[in-house]
């Protein structure tokens, strides 16, 4: 792998494109030579440094969720950010690829799609306004949309769209979105006996991005999302904390709402 980055590289914001009410794409220069699925640690001076997927070598696509992202949203064209990256492994695809994205998780998949590596894209959003990148995706591949509220495409979850597709046709299924959604995808792949074809882009709390601090370690194998990932194949995370809990900045466990208090999903039951 390439040399790990050193000091943050200063980049200048060249354009800010509102994508949805809560998501903006920040185009910056110089770009970060990278491959789809890799991420950067974005330094928002005076606030924090946070991980962001590269939606292209010249952009990050950000959802405002807290302090640092809010600070980012207050920046203007001409302002500067510091970038450490590219980090992580990225997607590894060849042959026929299905992409499944939900919410801002579409960002790393966009990069893969515009590279011409995706043949079919299942795109999910809460509502019509929150659909990300539909036109550009539609121009590169076969796009199917689902919205929770039915305002566009299929009325329901993006996972429902998987039923209308012959999963077995695909060599790779690249997935990014809310963890609960990704768990559902993994369950389906597992049932189809092709969990190993799934490539899931994971989010965990990250401090160093270089595989040294341990804040992004996952149970039970201690895989580091920043360095061993952020992309993991489905079989690597089948019997893991994935979908059950994550950790906050202190290292304490935070359970996903759907996960039981014991932190265990009985997969068969929750699915039926």
């Amino acid at each position: 792998m390439a040399e790990l980055p050193m000091m943050p590289v200063p980049v200048t914001i060249k354009a800010i494109v509102p994508e949805t009410p809560s998501i903006r794409t920040f185009y910056f220069d110089p770009g970060i030579p990278s491959s789809p699925g890799q991420f950067v640690m974005v330094w928002v001076p005076e606030y924090d440094e946070i991980p962001m997927a590269l939606s292209s070598e010249h952009s990050i696509t950000v959802q405002e969720v807290g302090d640092a992202t809010a600070a980012l949203f207050r920046l203007n064209v001409g302002d500067r950010l510091g970038m450490r990256g590219p980090l992580g492994n990225g997607f590894t695809v060849s042959g026929k690829t299905l992409a499944i994205g939900g919410g801002v998780g579409v960002a790393p998949l966009l990069n893969l799609t515009t590279a011409g590596k995706v043949s079919t894209f299942l795109l999910g959003a809460r509502t019509r306004d929150e659909i990300l990148f539909a036109p550009v995706i539609a121009s590169s591949c076969n796009l199917h949309i689902a919205t929770d509220d039915g305002t566009e495409g299929h009325h329901g979850f993006v996972t429902d769209l998987m039923d209308g597709i012959d999963l077995d046709e695909f060599d790779h299924i690249c997935v990014c979105g809310p963890e609960i959604m990704m768990v559902k995808v993994l369950e389906r792949l597992k049932r189809a006996g092709i969990a190993d074809r799934g490539q899931f882009s994971l989010h965990r709390y990250m401090k160093c991005g270089l595989g040294i601090c341990g804040s992004c370690s996952m149970d039970p194998h201690g895989l580091r999302v920043c360095r061993d990932g952020p992309i993991f194949t489905g079989d690597d995370i089948l019997e893991s904390e994935f979908g059950k809990y994550t950790r906050d900045a202190t290292g304490r466990k935070v359970y996903f709402p759907s996960a039981r208090p014991e932190g265990e999903i009985k997969e068969e039951k929750t699915e039926t």
Binding site: L4, P5, P8, D48, R84, G211, G214, R224, R227
Partner: protein
């Protein structure tokens, strides 16, 4: 190259599988991560430093690579008491729990949570970037002595980890020894700072931090050397170790074992890689190596 005899060892009252220990705060936040490093060949592991209250640590950037090193200011993020759950399943493993507090009482309290599980404690009186903790305490011999004594009441071996950022590290080493430490760990990170000239501000969220990695290896060797000349208890060398030869070098300076942190960044399999080179059946007994450079 000189090689060592393989086999279990005991250092500072703690049984270890080999001479290579994971340093505190590096991949040590979860039980699973510690287990992984043990599986990958470490002879023992030190946990992330645990304190009296859960803490998120400093704002980012928390860590950057520098020339032959790493500069970090994590700010001692830790889950506090909840960490007991992380290491429950590691009861039979060589786990040393690193702890910190602002005074002897806090040290004793935190240690109390782990007294049943830990094979040993490592007192972090040396982190250079957490106001009121770490080096704020570890530069004063008297306080070091008292914190050591407070934790020693639990009857578990106590290692005291020293900061190199003092005029004379041996005064602190002697204080730890007098306080009842079973071993001294030398050293924690060297205070440092980098500034982003483009942003016109220090890079680290905490502004300054601690330098680790190969850049500080000569500094750590010197600290171990000086401590070996003054203290009777075992010394564990830490700082920039990244090869089997570095391990031997630390041992010749006076270390009975080493801790390895930053080198996992280059390759997480570093323990196994070093182990393969360090040990051979006809290797030298470690006793013949430790401190030998003092002549």
């Amino acid at each position: 190259m000189i090689t060592l005899q393989p086999g279990e060892i005991t250092v500072g009252g703690v049984d270890l599988r080999n001479h290579l220990i994971l340093a505190a705060g590096v991949l040590g936040t979860t039980g699973a991560s510690l287990k992984r490093i043990l599986k990958l060949g470490a002879g023992g592991v030190v946990t992330k430093s645990i304190g009296p209250e859960p803490a998120s640590g400093h704002h980012g950037p928390c860590l950057i690579r520098t020339d032959c090193g790493v500069l970090n200011a994590m700010g001692l993020p830790n889950p506090s008491q909840e960490f007991t759950g992380e290491i429950e399943s590691l009861k039979d493993e060589p786990v040393i729990v690193s702890i910190f507090g602002k005074d002897p009482d806090e040290f004793r309290e935190v240690a109390g949570w782990f007294a049943g599980h830990a094979r040993g404690f490592e007192l972090n009186v040396s982190c250079p970037h957490a106001a009121g903790y770490g080096a704020a305490i570890g530069t004063d011999p008297e306080t070091v002595l008292e914190c050591t004594r407070a934790v020693a009441t639990h009857g578990v071996p106590v290692w005291v980890k020293l900061t190199p950022n003092v005029t004379d590290i041996t005064t602190i080493g002697r204080a730890a020894e007098q306080g009842g430490a079973s071993a001294i760990v030398a050293v924690n990170t060297v205070r440092g700072m980098r500034i982003s000239t483009e942003m016109r501000r220090p890079v680290l969220g905490n502004r300054s931090g601690g330098l680790s990695g190969r850049a500080i290896f000569p500094i750590a060797v010197k600290a171990v050397w000086d401590l070996y000349e003054t203290c009777q208890i075992p010394i564990i060398g830490c700082g920039g170790v990244s090869s089997a030869n570095d391990v031997i070098e630390m041992m010749m300076a006076g270390a009975q074992a080493v801790e390895i942190g930053t080198a996992v960044m280059d390759d997480i399999r570093v323990f196994d890689q070093i182990r393969r080179k360090l040990y051979t059946k006809d290797g030298t007994p470690a006793e013949e190596i430790v401190g030998v450079a003092h002549g």
